[in-house]
């Protein structure tokens, strides 16, 4: 199912070159990112760390194509995406990226199945096929029997599993997870991290953003940020993980 060659491929999937993100706050310029140059390999597991205000959220927004950089270059799978417009960025997110958030971000009025199906709807799948795939994904994260429940009827851990299933629907190469365990107790958090690690073993590139050192230990590579610049990088030599 998954190209094993790819999983061990050392080709870079993400490269930032001297990236700046500058916000104008009144007359003052705030450099959320101030010259970031870094590259991530395909199939790697990264933790972006740093105290609040260090720029790690901005980093994730830029990497996730949710925001545009002020200057510099961003190559995603070798393609320069720095200059793309809103529509093109949406298309990139739709086809190549998956997101998991701290507050789950499920749509409350939709059932679990319909939440998972959402990316497929925008990809233009017909509803029968979409529902089928959503059910498969729900099974995969262990929530096959909750497919017709609404998110409010689920526990936090279950909601995060639904969010992961949704992030997987478009079969993305990269999954971004923004404090994925922030709203969960330690045990449930561990389970979610195990799930992410399993996906990483299947070849997905995983990038989590967190301020908790304990969470970051699950990642092979760590990128510490401080005041908009990279403070240090801990890269594991063990590529097979």
């Amino acid at each position: 199912m998954v190209n094993q060659g790819h999983a061990h491929d050392n080709a870079e999937i993400i490269r930032l070159e001297n990236v700046y993100k500058i916000y104008q706050m009144g007359v003052q310029e705030v450099k959320a990112l101030a010259g970031i140059t870094v590259s991530f390999k395909r199939g790697s597991f990264w933790a972006i760390m740093g105290p609040s205000g260090s720029g790690k959220s901005t980093m994730m927004n830029i990497l996730g194509c949710l925001d545009r950089l002020s200057s510099g270059r961003y190559y995603l799978e070798g393609q320069d995406v720095s200059g793309l417009d809103d529509d093109a960025l949406s298309e990139l997110r739709l086809r190549h990226l998956g997101f998991v958030f701290q507050s789950f971000n499920l749509i409350p009025q939709l059932t679990v199945q319909r939440n998972i199906e959402l990316p497929l709807y925008y990809l233009g799948w017909d509803s029968t096929r979409g529902a089928q795939r959503a059910q498969e994904l729900a099974d995969e994260v262990g929530l096959g029997d909750r497919a017709h429940h609404r998110p409010t009827e689920l526990s936090g851990g279950e909601m995060q599993r639904v969010a992961i299933a949704r992030a997987l629907a478009n079969d993305p190469q990269i999954i971004f997870a923004d404090e994925p365990t922030g709203n969960l107790d330690t045990t449930t958090g561990e389970q979610i991290l195990e799930l992410l690690k399993k996906l990483n073993r299947q070849g997905k590139t995983i990038i989590i953003v967190t301020h908790e050192a304990a969470i970051a230990t699950h990642a092979q590579n760590k990128l510490h940020m401080l005041d908009g610049v990279i403070d240090r990088i801990e890269e594991s030599a063990d590529e097979t993980n």
Partner: protein, 422 residues
């Protein structure tokens, strides 16, 4: 494929609106009443047109009706004793009119009399008309039995009578009466036919056969009964000399009717010292109807316009609130990869579904209003396909028009901000 996608979007829109049933219902009320007024307006308008056309059909669409009337001066002096009023249309008038206009196809002179009549044991006063066979072409009515007057009756001065439905009812005549003898005045006439008659008023013009019980040939009427009539009004005996009470004129084409009527009026003006005639054009009724229709359209149209505007603003208002409420949802959709136009489309579908549902309910309400108008005022109302489709189209347009701004507003939501929105 494309169609099923739109259908799916409509279903999704409906689902969202059903989440807030009361809110959705209240939001669409303005459109409900607006569309209701539009439906009522159209059905009243259509009904009026239909009624006018029906009346014109009874009167003859190409006809001009010239009637004798007492002039104002004559009316004033006629109360004097032993006075004879001479007024109305003359044989000369009829002759001149039928000879002078090339666009006139046919004419029929009418002489009205009231005569004591008797059929077997049944005696009644009948309203008798002396006219020519042309009458039956000008005022075509179904022949119920026998025949109408024909030229030989006129030429040979045959003492024959054609009864109308009214006359037949008075004399208790049936189709078996054909061939029997009816006494009119002092003379004997053979009943040769019975024709259907119409009654009713069209604007201020009377249906020509509304007050007629029997037709006899004009030549016979002139010879037997002459031109002088004695009229008893409140005990006084008044003598009147009237040659013709009516002349009906048929013009070859509807568009020439008014011009010919004006020509006739000018001609009569020349030969009559007093204004003892009236020229009426059934086709002019259409204009009268149009005016009534316009009044109704203005009143109901204003109600409709205001309701639709208020309804539209209401929808816009609620949709704007809904967009704010669903900022997070919009952010999620955008993060997943929905493009701005897909968000616009989603909200536009929702407003359109909302307003169109309002339109459909309004159609039901609107169908009730014409029913009530007919019930209480007797006005004819008519629902046509156009009267159903147009309001639906209007309600859809309202949805798109007033949904556009909230939808654009929704599309402007920044996913990064929206995802942090609590």
């Amino acid at each position: 494929m494309r169609q099923t996608k739109i259908l799916r979007n409509i279903l999704l829109g409906m689902e969202n609106l059903l989440l807030h049933k009361l809110r959705s219902f209240l939001t669409m009320l303005g459109v409900v009443f607006g569309v209701g007024s539009v439906v009522a307006m159209l059905s009243v308008g259509e009904g009026a047109s239909k009624e006018a056309l029906e009346q014109i059909r009874k009167l003859g669409s190409n006809n001009i009706i010239i009637s004798a009337k007492k002039s104002a001066e004559e009316e004033a002096t006629s109360t004097q004793h032993a006075h004879m009023s001479i007024y109305g249309l003359t044989y000369e008038d009829h002759h001149r009119i039928s000879e002078s206009f090339t666009n006139i196809q046919r004419t029929a002179p009418v002489k009205l009399m009231r005569k004591d009549s008797r059929l077997r044991e049944r005696a009644m006063e009948l309203r008798v008309v002396g006219t020519t066979p042309e009458w039956f072409k000008l005022v075509p009515r179904k022949v119920l039995a026998g025949r109408v007057l024909i030229p030989p009756d006129e030429d040979k001065q045959a003492p024959v009578a054609v009864l109308t439905e009214f006359g037949a009812r008075k004399l208790l005549a049936t189709e078996h009466t054909i061939g029997e003898t009816v006494r009119i005045g002092g003379d004997q006439f053979e009943v040769v036919g019975i024709v259907k008659s119409e009654s009713g008023q069209a604007g201020n013009i009377q249906i020509p056969d509304q007050e007629i019980d029997a037709y006899i040939p004009m030549t016979v009427a002139r010879n037997y009964f002459g031109d002088i009539f004695a009229k008893e009004t409140s005990g006084t005996r008044v003598m009147e000399k009237v040659e013709l009470h009516q002349i009906i004129v048929q013009v070859d084409e509807p568009k020439r009717v008014e011009a010919v009527a004006a020509g006739i009026e000018r001609m009569l003006e020349k030969f009559h010292k007093k204004e003892d005639y009236a020229v009426s054009v059934p086709l002019a009724l259409l204009k009268q109807t149009e005016a009534t229709k316009r009044t109704f359209s203005i009143v109901l149209g204003s109600i409709a316009g205001i309701s639709l505007l208020v309804g539209g603003i209401g929808i816009m208002n609620i949709m704007l609130a809904s967009v704010t409420e669903r900022t997070r949802e919009i952010g999620i959709r955008r993060a997943i990869g929905a493009k701005r136009r897909q968000i616009v489309f989603q909200f536009l579908i929702e407003t359109t579904v909302l307003s169109t549902t309002g339109g459909i309910i309004g159609l039901g309400v609107g169908a009730l209003i014409p029913f009530l108008i007919t019930y209480f005022s007797g006005m004819v109302t008519l629902m046509t396909l156009k009267g159903i489709l147009l309001p639906l189209l209007i309600s859809m347009t309202i949805g798109i028009l007033f949904g556009l701004y909230p939808a654009m507003h929704a599309a402007k939501v920044d996913p990064i901000v929206a995802l942090r929105h609590e």
